[in-house]
Symmetry: C2
Subunit: 320 residues, 2 copies
């Protein structure tokens, strides 16, 4: 983009959003055509020059949101969706709103931890650009599995975050689960791994979805070849309800004694809770049990979820 083009965009944005001129008037002022102004403005929006955000009145909001807020002590954003939408469309809507809600929270010098999965993938596709300096995107958990290194899928997500915020991307090149806890211990002492772990320890924002063991169609983790028969059996017969970044927990939010976690590569729950801003994105009512566990564990400070899930979350018999 030529030097004067972006300054034209700034000028147009000021005139349009701050002074309420029409594009026509702006065109005359910039000696160009109205269509160019239209394009300048959309580039100003896309590049994050113009930030539009919605501050829902925290107290007086729709009851659904305030009930969740009161019960779970999280900052909740209920995404309105019509019930005629299917799962995929809902996810898309939730992801779009999540992406735009996250935008304003990202700042310079941020260290942003990002998990991976279908939810995060959808979110990453809708991020709006925002110029920041010296920000880092760090992968929360490994993505390799028995069939593939899982690199492309997870790294696409990371890359999109990185380019939206002009941030350095730090991948975590380990499998999602080690076969042996001992290998993990060993690797965790490697300096290359240590670098990532130390970044994770300094995260200012973490963004993740949840997996739910009993989801109608299960998440990547449960179906993607990351776990073998035995592991899945253990999960099924234990009282694990879900996971965040491949770290498992029970309905009450506890995780002690879940052996699988000793082989998992995500940050343990205590560490995750250290992060100042922890954004959980959920779409699809079938994740409700996993979500309940995550909330019980206090994993999220911000929750973005679709309306249907929000409704089930507050209904007491939602545990079906």
């Amino acid at each position: 983009m030529t030097p004067s083009r972006s300054s034209d965009a700034l000028r147009a944005a000021q005139l349009y959003y701050l002074q309420d001129l029409t594009m026509d008037a702006i065109a005359r002022e910039l000696r160009t055509s109205r269509s160019t102004v239209s394009r300048l403005l959309s580039s100003a929006r896309e590049s994050g020059l113009v930030q539009i955000q919605i501050r829902s009145p925290l107290d007086t909001g729709p009851e659904l949101a305030s009930m969740i807020r009161a019960e779970y002590k999280v900052d909740v954003h209920v995404v309105p969706v019509v019930d005629t939408l299917n799962e995929a469309e809902t996810l898309d809507r939730v992801a779009m709103q999540a992406a735009r809600t996250i935008g304003p929270l990202v700042d310079s010098n941020a260290i942003i931890g990002v998990a991976w999965g279908s939810t995060l993938s959808a979110v990453s596709r809708h991020l709006t650009r925002k110029i920041t300096h010296d920000s880092v995107i760090v992968q929360l958990n490994g993505a390799g599995n028995m069939q593939t290194t899982g690199i492309t899928y997870a790294s696409d997500i990371m890359r999109r975050f990185g380019s939206a915020y002009g941030a350095r991307v730090e991948q975590f090149p380990v499998p999602a689960f080690f076969d042996h806890a001992a290998t993990k211990k060993a690797m965790w002492n490697e300096r290359s791994v240590q670098r990532i772990l130390q970044l994770q320890a300094r995260m200012s924002i973490a963004i993740f979805g949840v997996g739910s063991v009993d989801a109608d169609y299960p998440s990547h983790v449960y179906a993607g070849g990351y776990l073998d028969e035995d592991d899945l059996n253990v999960l099924a017969t234990s009282d694990v309800v879900g996971d965040v970044a491949t770290v498992f927990f029970r309905a009450d939010g506890s995780a002690d004694g879940i052996t699988l976690n000793e082989r998992s590569t995500g940050p343990d729950l205590a560490q995750l809770r250290q992060v100042r801003r922890r954004i959980c994105v959920v779409s699809g009512a079938s994740k409700i049990n996993g979500l309940r566990g995550a909330l019980a564990a206090g994993l999220a400070t911000d929750l973005i979820l679709d309306e249907a899930s929000a409704r089930r979350l507050v209904s007491f018999d939602g545990a079906s």
Copy 2:
């Protein structure tokens, strides 16, 4: 506004600004007409539910802005205006942009000091609503003069600020200048005055214009019957260049020994400099000398001014 209407507005705003639906689609979703949605959205914007802000890239911005930023160490917002506009139209544009720039800075529990004058009056007319709690608007300096109590003019400004931000308004019912410094001393010990002074001491934001002694058509202070012949003569023969909230200063920003200030009711410069955020709004190139003085005195952390003034500010021979 009925309870469900504002929640409809929130919903519409989310669908429109965060999910990119058309108003038509939103209308179907809310089972209402498209025109109602249009109106819901504009009420959402007006009520501050939707916040649009422009983050000008601090480093790479147009040189004009960055030169001022570098030279005077203030956060500067140059308001683009066509040069065919007259003073009044320019003021209006600057005021509109100032009002919208200030909006996002106002927060709950803020104590906002507001001066008065034609600039502030214009700004007050363009404020966008924003819901805050327990904010206070406090008047920076008295407004009475020899002819009138000056109450209505200044208090209209205050009232508009108050209602835009849902804030309590604290007027300062004293003349702009006392006739005798001794009277001021006495009044300053009154408890009613003390209350205001203590609020001022705790200000988190101050908003003011500048007066310039040599302005083409002089500000309220110099023309409105606030000062008598003698005072004006003293000003003319001294090296005073301008004032902020009826407190005068010289080109180098100094104010010591200016006797008029002992009778003036505005906060002294040292006190003003204590305020975290000090927003100076300037429209009209003839205020340039006053502005230079104010900047030399370090009175502003944020400067909003029109393009022509910005240009004169950086040109070395602007002192004409």
